[in-house]
């Protein structure tokens, strides 16, 4: 069904805004890392913006998501504030996790984002348990968990697909196949076909063009509807491409610059812009304004994060978060 066609222009523009915010956020983070303004490491999702906008865009507010370590864009997609995410990257106490989580663990409970696991496939079984709880609590919601082509090979993913099917729980597995698990090409390390393997668990599984925001929106909408009404899992293999390296220290020796150019030409943002122009939803001028607005928001977020980065938790305050009763040992 064409769920996208049924949405109004406001929604269609909202998806676009999220893609732009994600794009400019990641570009800015990349720049700040290069300049040494952020410590630690980060995994950027440039090129995967269609998924960032459409996964959460097709879900309800009360549906949970669990992104991967490449999770900034999904944080934005689910409604998270770029101010608190940027502040978290700068490790201040105004960050979403008060500086205790960082890039890989942006938990945002009020927007129903459980945060990422830094362990590849670590969140996949957790999502199954969350969906189990939702079913027990008689909620008509789903849990969407992101995983990559690398995570698909983890035993934990295979166990989770089986468990989700035999327990019959409403979880949407959103596999962002960006062709590489760090440096390992899926073509070399994934046996068979991801969608077929997932489908072999008697789970509905589809393969889509993950750089087409409309296609992703339709697939997730259908998955959600099915998962909620049937209380069953659903699997989406969303084919996309990671423009930058795995993390900030990746020299990308395992692929050619030509290949990267090829995929950059399939840019999900540009493709959606063409649609918005051709369908008369936005004019060239308006598109320009949205770009400027998104860029400005990121600049404002950086300035907020820089201004507040001096506010940090003390060791004693951090200890209070080890146990939920606040005990420090």
């Amino acid at each position: 069904m064409n769920y996208f066609e049924k949405t109004n222009d406001e929604k269609k523009i909202r998806l676009y805004e999220i893609m732009l915010t994600s794009r400019y956020f990641e570009e800015k983070v990349n720049e700040m890392f290069m300049k040494g303004l952020i410590h630690g490491t980060t995994h950027l999702g440039l090129g995967q913006e269609a998924g960032h906008a459409a996964l959460s865009g097709a879900l309800c507010k009360e549906d949970w998501i669990l992104p991967t370590h490449r999770g900034h864009g999904h944080f934005i997609g689910k409604g998270g504030s770029v101010y608190s995410m940027m502040a978290e990257l700068l490790a201040g106490s105004y960050g979403i996790d008060k500086g205790l989580g960082g890039s890989m663990h942006m938990t945002d409970v009020k927007n129903f984002n459980m945060g990422s696991s830094g362990v590849v496939a670590g969140a996949v079984p957790i999502a199954v348990g969350m969906a189990f709880a939702m079913k027990k609590q008689s909620k008509d919601n789903v849990v969407a968990v992101c995983l990559g082509d690398g995570a698909f090979n983890q035993g934990m993913t295979q166990e989770s697909l089986n468990l989700a099917r035999v327990w019959e729980v409403p979880v949407v597995f959103f596999c962002e196949n960006n062709l590489y698990g760090m440096s390992a090409p899926a073509s070399k390390f994934v046996a068979g076909d991801i969608t077929k393997r997932a489908g072999s668990y008697d789970i509905r599984a589809v393969k889509i063009d993950g750089n087409d925001v409309i296609e992703v929106y339709n697939a997730v909408s259908e998955a959600r509807e099915y998962a909620v009404s049937e209380k069953m899992p659903y699997f989406i293999e969303s084919k996309t491409y990671r423009w930058l390296g795995h993390s900030k220290s990746d020299l990308r020796k395992y692929r050619t610059r030509e290949e990267e150019e090829y995929y950059k030409n399939l840019c999900p943002v540009k493709r959606y812009e063409e649609y918005l122009l051709n369908s008369g939803i936005l004019t060239e001028k308006e598109i320009q304004v949205y770009h400027e607005k998104a860029q400005q928001e990121i600049l404002d977020a950086v300035s907020f994060a820089e201004k507040t980065r001096g506010n940090i938790l003390t060791l004693e305050e951090a200890k209070k978060y080890v146990y939920s009763g606040g005990e420090d040992r």
């Binding site: 938990t107 670590g122 079984p125 189990f132 709880a133 146990y323 939920s324 040992r329």
Partner: protein, 329 residues
């Protein structure tokens, strides 16, 4: 007071928690109609049905992680791992996820779950069904570890564990399952983090937990005939540790022997030596603190060897006599 076995006490704790809170679920392999590998859950499936007694495929990693997800959503799962050895399959769930979510999210979420498992040697089940792996978890802030020795403690502590908002590991020595003891008729709870003086004495403190407490108590009986007065401490909770109990007892007796079943090297005994050395109790010592642990080898199948590798009443008595040295002569 009524007399019941350790296994019955554990079952009663699970049953009473299932009755008192509908968010409690019991999850594991073969715990339904079969009644559990050790018969421990017999009757629970008949009473609560498959709505609350959740059977799983043989997939410890995924269902323990799923329990983390359930706990994140407000359920209170009690997970049974059939043998303590198989907790190795749940390390990712417990160490990387359960122990971290509260902290990484700066308190946005909590993980109220219990993982309980039968452990220990003495059943002829050889190296992969006989280990004592508690030390693996003691170096993980965010987890609580409980190892009770008596039916009364097992019941009261398990009920407290289910109500605790942090993830708890609950180790039950399988040789204790058939031991009996007095258990209060009325509802009661034993606080996590409080040890217990199982026998008062004045010459030496025997510090132990789980089944080895009983070995120490028997040794204390023996030694009493020789005119030696042993105090026996049952730590009950290993993390958080009741350091005050240890320190006060050693100040009184001036000697301490730590007895545990796990291999001695890298085990919990070393930590207790440090607790004593780092406290004022150190200045009261009349002889060096000693440890008596398991042999440095996997648990052998041969029954004679299997008996030899763990501390026994004879070994405890021998060690105490040595420690008493000249003053005893």
């Amino acid at each position: 007071m009524k007399i019941m076995t350790y296994a019955e006490a554990v079952r009663e704790a699970i049953r009473e928690e299932l009755l008192s809170d509908e968010s409690v679920y019991f999850i594991g392999e073969d715990i339904g109609l079969y009644g559990g590998c050790f018969g421990l859950s017999r009757g629970l499936w008949e009473e609560f049905g498959e709505e609350r007694i959740i059977e799983t495929p043989i997939t410890e990693g995924a269902f323990t992680s799923a329990a983390v997800g359930m706990a994140l959503m407000g359920l209170r799962p009690i997970v049974e791992i059939m043998f303590g050895d198989f907790v190795s399959l749940t390390v990712d769930a417990m160490v990387d996820h359960a122990a971290k979510y509260h902290f990484m999210s700066a308190g946005q979420v909590k993980v109220p779950m219990v993982l309980r498992t039968p452990f220990g040697s003495g059943t002829g089940a050889a190296a992969q069904h006989s280990q004592s792996l508690e030390a693996m978890y003691l170096n993980t802030p965010g987890l609580k570890v409980i190892m009770p020795s008596s039916p009364r403690d097992a019941k009261g502590l398990l009920r407290s564990a289910v109500r605790d908002d942090s993830p708890v590991l609950f180790f039950e020595n399988k040789l204790l399952y058939r031991t009996s003891g007095e258990v209060p008729e009325e509802e009661y709870f034993i606080p996590i983090g409080k040890g217990d003086i199982k026998r008062e004495g004045s010459d030496i403190t025997l510090i132990s937990y789980s089944r080895m407490v009983n070995v120490c108590l028997e040794a204390a009986e023996e030694l009493e005939k020789e005119g030696l007065s042993c105090e026996v401490l049952d730590l009950r909770t290993l993390r958080p540790l009741d350091t005050e109990l240890i320190i006060n007892s050693v100040k009184k007796t001036g000697r301490a022997l730590i007895v545990y079943e796990a291999p001695m090297f890298g085990g919990f005994g070393g930590e207790i030596v440090s607790v004593i050395n780092d406290s004022e109790a150190f200045y009261y010592l009349d002889s060096p603190v000693k440890r008596l642990g398991g042999e440095e080898m996997p648990v052998p199948y041969n029954p004679n060897l299997e008996k030899e590798i763990v501390p026994t009443v004879g070994k405890v008595c021998g060690e105490v006599r040595k420690m008493m040295g000249e003053s005893y002569e």
